[in-house]
Symmetry: C2
Subunit: 423 residues, 2 copies
């Protein structure tokens, strides 16, 4: 960072300000316009112009390969035909969702006859900072636009041409639906400085960073505007003394192995000491068959054949890999304490047949989703019924959990009077 | 600032961290405990121990007087017997409000049988930074505690002894109700450095600054945690061509003069050019009788006898005084543009008998409260039916408008399963 000369920095800040002002001026039109029409047009245009998009993506890939990007990163950068299907399906699903805007909630009459209520409105202009995957250029915009917001995008440097191609399709879709193209803009530079400039752009109503821990921390540290971000998912399953152990095993397997590299995957199992002797060998066998390495606390180690000791400093780690921590606890109390200390407020689960233990867990654990007898993998906008999501917030303000179209709205108060004055 | 030595700064940070950790550890008990009991005990203790509080307040006043504090500031610092009545009434009213916590909203069954919903929970630990008025030590805590939150207070330097006395009463009230005293803490130093330390205290779920523009801006610039703050209230009344001009006059008088020094007072009137010739002389006469100075745009000036020209740079100013800006506009369109440019998203009103103009105004104006035929003075938690408030947010995230107990809660997702795994 700090690579730009002062004059270039000024130019960048001016460009962002102009894009933001242009978008803000059109917000009422966007809220009133045919937003679902734009989503459907985008689905059709993606199908028609997919070769153009792929061509831009190929150029990005070529350059990224030459720059020596890792295999995993190249894989995330590459658009495939199955992406076309999932993107167009997503757009059509979101277009079919009910409109989150326009309702007046709780309209009620005050003693002086003034009618007051809350009108559901867009947040306004949302900044979105993301990393390599170009599909997000379609998905994130579709959720924001459904809720009547404008969006200023700053995608990963490697995906710049792909993102340009997709944003130019968005502009065609917006025009077809009679909406202003200012609703979607791509920051027209790949300089990293643009991230800092967005953090300081006070014309944004909200800034959403999506990517690695380093990016999220940078944005949280530098932002002068409200931020919704997700921290890592250090997610636990507590196997209670009254758990159905077969169910607990299935939940552990599903949580850890169904898709290990995502934020709602399971990272640690806490086992009640009264069932540890039976459960831990079951868990070890199942995990070994699936190539999962176990790292265990001192009490669990003697009950496991191949586990290695877990280091103190790794109890709050998110592996995103086939590694699972195991800890024996004296009961619900110790499980709650452990989660409060090492959890990341993302997703926490209990497996038990005891409703009293379950409700205490559900009520006391502070996490965006708390589950009873279900897999941590359900912390997802589609799974919880939001229809779509732009990320999972682990900050409690505004939206705690997956953020769908409704989470990208707010309410303002409206008051309908007949000349009321304050006494 | 920067007056503290590094070792003192470290000590301050450590103290804050310990207070915050102490509070966080007791959050489940606070949420489950007899919060209304603590509010009622506080009301009774205030009545019993009022002389103690006044004694501490006298000491604060004496020191402040010696330090040469302005008359207005001394007045805000001084506790009077009418404060006792309003504080105890407020506590009893808030205790009587329904409990915002514990409900599970929208519990519904997903296709796989998983039952999901949102459980209403406290935000957690709230930092509150405020200036001289010691009554806020009672009011703000009562709103936060009603919603199950713990609070870390940093009051004004001048009110330190008063705040200490009030917090020690809170501790007695909490103990009487069986709640942990960690629910309410006062930062035990008057150093300004404590503000910065709170801005960086990542154990806070929310930081609320309440005071002058300078304090708010400092906190917004420095905070590493979510902030809910209110900007100034640059509030307009648009008098439409189809306004009932007598009503418009009453609303202008009420907005400007009923309590000029508060954030929901009126600062500017926009008048449709077709009614300006009739309305402006009415307005001038009424305002002159009430000692209000008019500052006018070039089109309004010839229609007014004593108004002075409004300077370009004052159109976004909050006078908090008996001064009113007047501007003639060509119609609704220009009024909307003017408000979008100079308004502060606080409170905006239209006076008209034309529902079409009214609804366009209600829908398009971006402000925490938009009124039709009613005074801007209604932007207030009690007036809108929240029962209490801790301030008025002009940021759109989480709470846009007055913040009552419900606005100091959030929801987490809960999922009740029977062993569901993700496919």
């Amino acid at each position: 960072m700090g690579e730009l000369a002062a004059s270039q920095k000024e130019h960048l800040e001016k460009t962002l300000r102009e894009l933001a002002e242009g978008a803000r001026a059109r917000l009422p039109e966007i809220a009133k316009g045919n937003r679902d029409g734009a989503l459907l047009a985008m689905a059709r245009l993606l199908e028609e112009a997919w070769p153009e998009v792929l061509k831009a993506n190929q150029e990005d890939l070529k350059e990224a390969e030459e720059a020596g990007l890792s295999r995993a990163k190249l894989d995330r950068l590459a658009l495939k035909d199955k992406d076309l299907r999932s993107l167009t399906e997503g757009l059509r699903q979101i277009a079919a969702l009910p409109d989150p805007l326009g309702r007046i909630e709780g309209l009620s009459k005050r003693p002086n006859g003034l009618r007051v209520g809350r009108m559901r409105i867009p947040l306004g202009l949302i900044g979105f900072i993301y990393e390599a995957r170009p599909g997000a250029t379609v998905e994130a915009v579709s959720v924001a636009l459904k809720a009547g917001n404008a969006m200023l995008l700053r995608g990963g440097k490697e995906a710049f041409r792909s993102n340009q191609a997709l944003v130019s399709l968005w502009h065609r879709a917006l025009r077809e639906a009679g909406l202003p193209v200012e609703a979607v803009s791509l920051v027209p530079t790949t300089e990293r400085e643009a991230i800092l400039a967005m953090c300081r752009l006070e014309l944004l109503d909200l800034l959403i960073p999506r990517g690695g821990e380093e990016l999220i921390r940078l944005v949280q540290r530098e932002a002068r505007v409200p931020v919704l971000a997700h921290a890592k998912g250090v997610n636990h399953l507590y196997v209670d003394e009254r758990a159905d152990l077969d169910m607990a095993l299935r939940l552990a397997i599903n949580g850890k192995t169904q898709r290990p590299a995502v934020c709602n995957a399971l990272e640690a199992v806490l086992v009640h000491e009264r069932v540890a002797e039976v459960f831990l060998p079951m868990l070890e066998k199942a995990m070994r068959e699936r190539g999962v390495e176990l790292r265990a606390c001192p009490k669990a180690l003697p009950l496991l054949k191949e586990a290695v000791p877990a280091q103190e400093e790794e109890w709050d780690r998110e592996y995103l890999d086939l590694i699972l921590r195991v800890k024996v606890v004296s009961g619900l109390e110790e499980a709650l304490e452990h989660i409060a200390r090492y959890g990341s407020r993302h997703t926490e689960a209990i497996c038990t047949e005891d409703p009293k233990a379950a409700w205490r867990f559900l009520e006391e654990v502070d996490a965006s989703l708390v589950l009873w007898n279900a897999s941590t993998r359900f912390n997802d906008g589609f799974q919880l019924g939001l229809g779509a999501e732009i990320g999972i917030s682990t900050s409690k303000l505004h939206a705690y959990g997956p953020m769908g179209p409704m989470e990208l709205t707010t309410t303002k108060w409206v008051a309908l009077g007949e000349g009321q004055e304050r006494e």
